[in-house]
């Protein structure tokens, strides 16, 4: 009977891996919500493609987290049987899709980070994470290119698309700081060379994002207050609704194999 939530022994490495897995799954879920509803068929394809990449990353990361934890959890239990307070993803990735500009700006902010992050993680002393990084970096580089092109098109397109893109940048900006935050549980992994220090990535991330914004004729926000909480399971109200959909089957059919 597996319908109730599982418990996870969150050692630093398990927690670290889960956080990245949750980022990938939740963002993949959001992108997959577009499937069949995108502004053009080419974007149905592209958004599904990115969603697939992210769900693939999530699966590898969950698998590794389960292995490191060494109990009887697995990728599906980790994805489907943790409640909202056990989810560890960034607040950014759970933001609702909104309009296409919101989706693409969210993707730009995340992919610009993820590409740098995974590139750095290719040098992790943890061989599994390094291998996941090598694959993920390639995928995120494509996501970044795709999102950048769209943000530029929207920002420098029509008055309406410009206004929507600027609103998206303004709305999502406060959720970007969490990507660069480090807590005590991660500090040790950074010192051990298992993880990289994300604060080191900030200047390059800013330069990439600013460059895209400039091309897109968009203004970077000056507000520097950053929201935090996702990494500790303090989410927005949006995540609970997403999980009620994501987890419905596993919650309703305890112990079944699919």
């Amino acid at each position: 009977m597996t319908a109730p939530s599982i418990t996870v022994s969150e050692t630093p490495l398990v927690l670290y891996t889960l956080r990245r897995a949750d980022d990938a799954l939740i963002l993949g879920h959001r992108l997959s919500e577009w499937c069949g509803h995108a502004p053009m068929l080419e974007e149905d394809m592209a958004l599904s493609n990115m969603a697939l990449d992210l769900i693939g990353q999530a699966r590898e990361l969950y698998g590794y987290a389960a292995k490191v934890e060494g109990r009887d959890n697995d990728e599906d239990k980790l994805a489907y049987l943790r409640d909202v307070r056990q989810y560890r993803n960034l607040l950014l990735v759970e933001r609702p899709n909104g309009d296409f500009a919101q989706t693409m700006v969210r993707q730009l902010f995340y992919a610009a980070f993820a590409d740098l992050y995974w590139r750095g993680m290719m040098g992790s002393t943890d061989a599994t994470l390094a291998a996941i990084a090598a694959k993920s970096e390639k995928e995120c580089a494509y996501h970044l290119r795709h999102a950048s092109e769209w943000v530029i098109r929207l920002g420098d397109g029509t008055d309406e698309s410009h206004a929507r893109a600027q609103a998206a940048v303004d709305d999502l900006w406060a959720y970007t700081g969490e990507m660069f935050s480090v807590d005590d549980s991660e500090r040790g992994l950074i010192d051990a060379g298992v993880a990289i220090d994300p604060t080191m990535l900030l200047p390059e991330w800013l330069s990439i994002v600013s460059h895209v914004a400039r091309e897109a004729t968009l203004v970077m926000p000056e507000n520097d207050w950053m929201q935090q909480g996702g990494r500790d399971g303090r989410h927005s109200e949006h995540l609970g609704h997403l999980l009620s959909e994501l987890q419905y089957m596993q919650r309703s059919f305890p112990g079944a194999t699919w």
Binding site: L25, H29, S32, E33, C35, G36, H37, A38, P39, M40, L41, E42, E43, D44, M45, S48, N49, A51, L52, I55, G56, A58, R59, Y62, E75, D76, A79, Y80, D99, F100, I152, R153, L154, D156, G157, T158, E160, S161, R164, E245, L246, Y248, M249, Q250, F253, G255, A256, T257, W258
Partner: protein
Amino acid sequence: ALRAQRFQARIDAEERIEPNDWMPAAYRKTLVRQISQHAHSEIVGMLPEGNWITRAPSLRRKAALLAKVQDECGHGLYLYAAAETLGASREELVDAMLAGKAKYSSIFNYPTLTWADIGVIGWLVDGAAIMNQIPLCRCSYGPYARAMIRVCKEESFHQRQGYEIMLTLCRGTVVQKAMAQDALNRWWWPVLMMFGPPDQASQHSDTSTKWKIKRFSNDELRQKFIDATVPQAQYLGLTMPDPEMTQDAQGHWRHGPIDWNEFKQVLAGNGPCNRDRLSARRKAHADGAWVREAAAAYAEKRARRQMAQAAE
């Protein structure tokens, strides 16, 4: 008339007709109608399966389903491209579909109510589609035939995946097996209708056959499909929802009467999901208008800037 004779001679010789070749207006019209209906079906077909992406019961199934729906979108794109070789623009074809003037496969007007429906769609709906499409790989019109080869390859992968979902359900808990049976019960008859009306009532077959667009009759294809499917259902341990289904002396499984009135109603817009399908596609199209406009405006700006630079 001479051109028409030469055209028919090429067809009879199993030559492929290519976009720049002369062809009768009716041949062109028939193909545009058929290819675009087929494209619309792929696109509308994304919706019933897409309905379960966010609720798929495992990550592996979620990824597979997402990839599958993406493939369907890809099929839609090749098929619109094939239709465009005949001088029809994707935009006008899509507009006709959104306006309710062009058809898509009636099967997609049924709802996916449980996860087992995803299995049944792969197993039976894709199975029936393949049965219809394999002969189209030898269709006289080159671009359509080539698109079909690619589509069929992917569809048979989907079909195996669907069957495997069914197998997992049928080997699962009692509740899962009941879910599988229920899905079969709901989809079986609509799937049989996918092959179109019985031969004596079919309209387009004669010329389509002559032009080698269609190589088998509706009833022939339907029978092939049933003969292939019944043993699969038996292997799953599922009961065919047709009490009159019996095997004849030649080994063919003969079905009971199909409710063609239901088919007619679905075609007339009265299926369970016709309105929902059209309104979902219309909403996507309307909500995306500003995005497409932005992309066009940007492309134009960029072209202008490049011209200006070149002129300097």
